[in-house]
């Protein structure tokens, strides 16, 4: 479908913003993030998420701590850093502005 090809890069670009939002709400591990996105337009997979989280950690937006789990090995729990919180706030403000622009233009 033509529209899908146009929307896909937008969705891809927004994934990092959504991950910031999810990690910003509370400390999570990867299956939590996958589950939160599963029923949305942004459903994604570990193959995409791990490289993205590694990049965000390198940019010092998120950080993780190892936590023991009842079953299996310790898990990486991600949370936002101060820089991550600042960036999330900036992105949310920017997103509101874009939204206004899109709904205002052409009317």
């Amino acid at each position: 479908m033509r529209i899908e090809a146009k929307i896909a890069p937008i969705r891809k670009g927004l994934l990092e913003f959504l991950v910031l939002k999810i990690v910003g709400a509370r400390s999570v591990y990867v299956p939590d993030i996958l589950r939160r996105l599963a029923d949305t337009e942004f459903a994604t997979q570990e193959g995409t998420l791990y490289p993205l989280l590694s990049k965000m950690r390198r940019e010092e937006l998120v950080d993780y701590q190892w936590q023991e789990s009842d079953a299996g090995p310790p898990r990486k729990y991600y949370r936002l850093t101060e820089a991550g919180k600042v960036q999330l706030a900036a992105l949310e403000a920017y997103w509101r502005r874009i939204n206004n622009t899109i709904s205002d233009i052409g009317h």
Partner: protein, 191 residues
């Protein structure tokens, strides 16, 4: 005789695989490793993926089952998905990387028609070197090189214009016009 199982260590999780499943997993991880080439977090991401594979396979094993087969591995890999690097544009990127390099003329920045630039791009050489060789051949062949150039100029397709590239004027523009005119006439004559 058939090998029954292979023991693999996935991020320090020991799991038994049937040979076919083991080979499939090896391919998946090799592909992931290729995609992550040059990524500073490659080792860590691969460890995360191995952990994901181990978790997904364990989840799918029946209580009485100790060896992972393709029946568990395939859906596990499907759920994990292939590795995507953030910022890459997926399919187009892969196409650009895997495509066979095309021998084309490059109009932007050409001296005449862009044959030397095209050859340089194709052969991954400095265009200065290619032009130098072409000029030397021109001298030593007493001008016959001009014919070779003309043939290549007529035969080689033009590379698409780079978005945002500088406009093509003067000689390259004129030669391109000429070549395209000749090609149009040729195709009209043959059809």
């Amino acid at each position: 005789m058939q090998r029954l199982s292979i023991t693999a260590s996935l991020n320090n999780n020991t799991l038994q695989f049937e040979e076919a499943a083991y080979l499939r997993l090896e391919r998946y991880l090799a592909e992931a490793s290729r995609t992550l080439e040059g990524n500073p977090d490659k080792t860590e991401i691969l460890a995360d993926l191995e952990q994901a594979v181990a978790d997904q396979c364990r989840k799918r094993l029946r209580p009485d089952q100790s060896v992972v087969t393709q029946a568990e591995l395939e859906p596990a890999l499907l759920e994990i998905g292939s590795v995507e690097v953030p910022g890459a544009t997926g399919a187009t990127d892969r196409m650009a990387r895997d495509a066979v390099p095309r021998l084309q003329q490059v109009s932007e920045g050409a001296w005449v028609s862009g044959v030397c630039q095209g050859l340089a791009r194709y052969l991954r050489l400095d265009v200065v070197l290619v032009r130098l060789v072409a000029l030397l051949l021109l001298l030593f062949t007493g001008g016959a090189m001009i014919l070779v150039y003309a043939v290549l100029m007529l035969l080689l397709p033009y590379a698409p214009f780079e978005p945002g590239g500088e406009p093509v004027r003067n000689i390259p523009a004129k030669s391109r016009e000429l070549v395209e005119l000749l090609r149009a006439k040729l195709s009209a004559a043959t059809s």
